[in-house]
Structures are given as structure tokens and as C-alpha cells.
Symmetry: C2
Subunit: 127 residues, 2 copies
């Protein structure tokens, strides 16, 4: 159980999940945030580079966040994101996929003045 | 109007919006994807580093995507994201904020074999 910044170590790993992706979720997210044919409609999606319905990349990121929050990698402390580097969408996420996430602590920067710090964690979502 | 990859130029700029952020939207997104106190409940959020309700960073990213899709920066062609570098959440997004986005083409990599390519666009969402 992580309680303090010093409880984190380089190479520490986290794992969590799962979430099943439904076509209703894909379409609902896309209708609000990424209304493009490959995310909205099975038939239209067949004629795109995705050759079928695929989740918006931002939907995938959001689903991964939901799994990360459940892991509570920092114990009772919140996940406050400063940013993300090198986000890559490697494969389409499809209806019926079951996602889980794995994380690894890759950088730890303690605060100079407080018993806290910045942890950089490499998160990967798998389908 | 952009129709071909060659129509894009380094330094080309895009601008679009706006979207008004509501507390209902903030809470609804958070309940599904980022259920932490600062995104879920005004009173609980007062006791967090945010000192009040703030949108999930992934919600902000998704709202920005919605604005980018409307701009149609590549004309009739879809926005297929390969990834994102250096995403930074600079300020909290609050109830009542009105977001718009601005973009600038910062890198163009033509395909060696097809009349297409990869455009890197720096997008900034403002509140």
C-alpha cells in the first residue's frame, strides 16, 4: 500500500482491469466527442481505414483512466495528471474487446520542500 | 479548403470553437471515466488541490477533440490520430468556462509511396 511518495520505487508495477467495450459505448462517446464515421456507425466504418467500428482514441484513453483510478496506484492520494508524453494508439479498440492496464514507475522527482513529488508512470492498455 | 496532403503547409493555422463547460458534463464524464472527488462533487472538490470542481483532464482533451473535428482541418479526410506528444494540462477547466481550440501545423511527413502523409499539429485549448 502506497501512503507516501517515498513508498514509490522505480520499476514498481501496477496492473488492473478489466472493462469490456460495447458498441453502444463506442458510439455514445463518439457522438459527443469524436463524431467521425469510423466511430459512429458499423456500415460507414467498413469503408474507412479501420474496416469496421473502432473506439475513438480519446475514448480508449478515458477507459484506461477509469481502470487506473480503480488501481489507486498512489493509495489514498488523488491522481492529478500534469500531462502525458508519447501517447500512442497502437491498435484499434473494437466492440467486444476487454481492456486492462499495466503501469510501471519510470521516473520519480521528489519535491524540494514538501514530502511529495512527481511520479512518471508508463501506462499501457491492452486488448 | 484542404483536399490533399500537399495543400497543408508548415505554420498553417486553424481555429475553432466554442463549447461551454457545464457542471453536469464535468460530473457525468468523471463518474464514468475519472471518479475522483475534484471532478465529481463541488463540496468535496473544495477540499482538494483544485479548490473547486474541475473537469477531468481527459474530459478536457475530449472536448477539445470535438472542436477539432468540427474544424475539419483536413477537409473531407478523417482525423486519424497516431498519438500525442507533450500533452499538458496547464489550468483547471471549470464550470462556465468556454473553450476554443487553436492549431498550428508543425511537421509534415509525406508518404514515400502514396499521395498522403502525416501531419503533426500543435493544438491548444483555451478557456
Amino acid at each position: 500500500m502506497i501512503e507516501w511518495f517515498d513508498d514509490l520505487e522505480l520499476g514498481m508495477r501496477f496492473k488492473g482491469g478489466e472493462v469490456a467495450v460495447t458498441k453502444e459505448d463506442i458510439k455514445r462517446f463518439a457522438a459527443e466527442f469524436d463524431p467521425q464515421p469510423m466511430h459512429l456507425d458499423e456500415a460507414a466504418a467498413e469503408n474507412t481505414a479501420f474496416k469496421g467500428l473502432a473506439a475513438s482514441g480519446w475514448h480508449t484513453a478515458a477507459m484506461a483512466m477509469a481502470l487506473v483510478v480503480k488501481i489507486r496506484p498512489f493509495g489514498p492520494h488523488p491522481l492529478i495528471g500534469l500531462g502525458v508524453d508519447e501517447l500512442r494508439w497502437m491498435m484499434p479498440v473494437r466492440t467486444g474487446d476487454v481492456l486492462h492496464v499495466e503501469g510501471e514507475v519510470v521516473e520519480l522527482t521528489p519535491s524540494r520542500t514538501k514530502p511529495q513529488g512527481i511520479a512518471k508512470v508508463k501506462w499501457t492498455a491492452y486488448n
